[in-house]
Amino acid sequence: MTHPALVVLHKEIVDALRDRRAFALAMVYALLGPLFLIPILRVTADSLNRRENAPVVVAMDGAAHAPSLVGYLREHAIEVKPFSGDPFAEVKSGREDVVVVVTPEYAAELREGHAAVVRVVTDTSRGTAGPMVRRVARQVELYGRVIGQMRLLARGIDPQAASGLALEIDDVATPSSSGAILLSGLPMFLLLAVFAGGAHVAIDVTAGERERGSMEPLFATPLTVRQLALGKLGAVIVFSAATLLVSDVAFSLVISLAPPPQIAGMRLELGPMVALRIFAGTAPLVLPVAALQILVASRSKTVKEAQTATMLLLMIPMLPGVALALSPFAATNLTMLVPSLAQAQLITSSLRGAPLEGAHLAIAVASTTALGALLTLVATSRRAWDKVVAAR
């Protein structure tokens, strides 16, 4: 004789698989991230990259005094257009974002070995001016450094002696922002898959079954509440875990087939081993989530009520994602005690390719499983099912 809980599990899986809406919904949530997050990331990064490297035209007052500076800028994708008038008025009025001013003394100051003044007039309160002025200022400064080095060489001094430090600024704005989106977005979507994958099933097998009136005849069989609840919980677990797996594999495929823009200093990889590590790290979360959904849905009087309550639960996977995006904090033994946050951090560290911290994983699995066991006990208790069993 098959255990009654297994009979329930089998029936609920067959039933849910034939429920096209539930199936489609689970798939939508599973593929939401892979299908939208990565392409959006690519488009944003591409357009940012284009903007960074696209030739810009900058107005220059007195360009005639500094032909070599103009040439240097042109080499670095900054075209110069002649300008005459009041640079302050033009910038303030918004007709120009940036005006470079070269005074007639420029050439003379250079010849005499002084620091020639190049003034950049801008209004950084305008969004478009910021990136442009940074580019122009940087190139002007680099040009100045080149001149300085040539002067030292001319005097027989190693240019390196003049700089005690070699400051190198790499502008990583584009890659790191896309990296941040990916590093906080991917855990969020994977956690969402865990929460959303089984939600419809959880509602259908509790409040749904109650609304359709099939609970009463069921409880006229020797089936106990705990057996029934365990079988139904099992079905939710299967759907939740399957959705997580599909989402994980889809992310892996999308990232491998169409790698997103590189992140400075690290390569984002989601090969089979990383995908496996992510799944193993996240899977324990399925139990408490499924138990919580069964508990909430079985306590609801109607399907509508259950849907509202389950929707609120969807906020949970968002929280660690949002928190990590706002202020990334390191994974510690303490954060591993918090289910959902722990999984988000484990996913992030897997993505970074950081070595697996055994202690972290152990604590996360233990705390999440403990919470899952506790919720399972409550969700399969006769008390939790009072409403479903008795009322109609």
Binding site: D19, E216, P222, V389
Partner: protein
């Protein structure tokens, strides 16, 4: 055999069952007759152990439903008033699910289902999904489901509600057949004609109490009415509306005379 011993059930302030006692014997069809909300469905729920009585006991074939509900349920087949079928499953899958709940499985279960499908004339719908079935077809599936474990006691809650003539006939044949097989059948209903035609014994329940417990003839004689319907109307107090439902339930039983001569409760 089912014995109901002075059960009492209260939901909050509402007394659903005040004091109900009766015995339903094997090889007989016992009717639970009463207006809506009289406590018929609650009584049946107590018989299956889905609900526990606050006081009193329900005993199925000598097994107390309160102390060993699982054992009691094995002896009972329930056709609930809400058929509650799984529409995405086929007839066979619906019935098989319940069979497996009762510990059946494999070839014996399949054979039992084939037998039931033949008797209920439903082989044509055996492997179709329940989605879109007519009320009559749904009743047959629910009935096959209630009988799959060959229970010695069968509870039918409003079995003919909403059925067409042919399905009602088929159901009556089935009820007679169950009686002929020596099973104890309890049928809750407020359809007088059906009760008169099928039942050996009638337990009239009004406002959570047994107003009468007699044979149809006994009931007519006791109330001095020629038709069972008139007898029933007298028992429920004449003015009790058919769907007087819940508010009648809370009210202490008044106005309905105890059927003199009819046995009340315990034999």
């Amino acid at each position: 055999m089912i014995r109901v011993e002075a059960i009492h059930k209260r939901f909050g302030d509402v007394v659903a069952i005040d004091a109900i006692s009766f015995t339903a014997r094997d090889g007989e069809v016992t009717a639970l007759l009463g207006p809506n909300g009289a406590g018929k469905t609650t009584t049946l729920r107590i018989l299956t152990g889905v609900m526990l009585p606050d006081r009193g006991a329900a005993v199925v074939d000598g097994v107390d439903t309160a102390t060993s509900p699982e054992a009691a349920r094995r002896r009972v087949g329930l056709l609930s008033d809400q058929r509650g079928l799984y529409t995405r499953l086929t007839t066979r899958e619906n019935v098989r699910y319940f069979g497996r709940m009762h510990g059946l499985g494999g070839a014996p279960l399949e054979a039992r289902m084939d037998e039931l499908f033949a008797v209920l004339d439903m082989r044509a719908i055996a492997d179709r999904r329940v989605e879109g079935f007519s009320l009559g077809e749904r009743l047959k599936v629910a009935l096959a489901r209630a009988l799959v474990h060959d229970p010695s006691n069968v509870l039918l809650d409003e079995p003919t509600a909403g059925l067409d003539v042919m399905t009602t006939r088929a159901l009556r044949l089935m009820v007679r057949r169950l009686r002929g097989e020596g099973r104890c059948v309890i049928l809750s209903s407020h359809v007088m004609q059906e009760v008169e035609e099928l039942c050996d014994r009638i337990v009239v329940v009004v406002a959570g109490r047994v107003a009468a417990d007699a044979t149809p003839e006994g009931l007519r004689a006791a109330t001095g009415e020629a038709s069972l319907e008139e007898a029933f109307v007298r028992l429920v107090g004449g003015d009790a509306p058919e769907d007087g439902a819940r508010r009648g339930e809370a009210r202490p039983f008044a106005g309905a005379p105890r059927a003199g001569g009819a046995e009340g409760g315990e034999p």
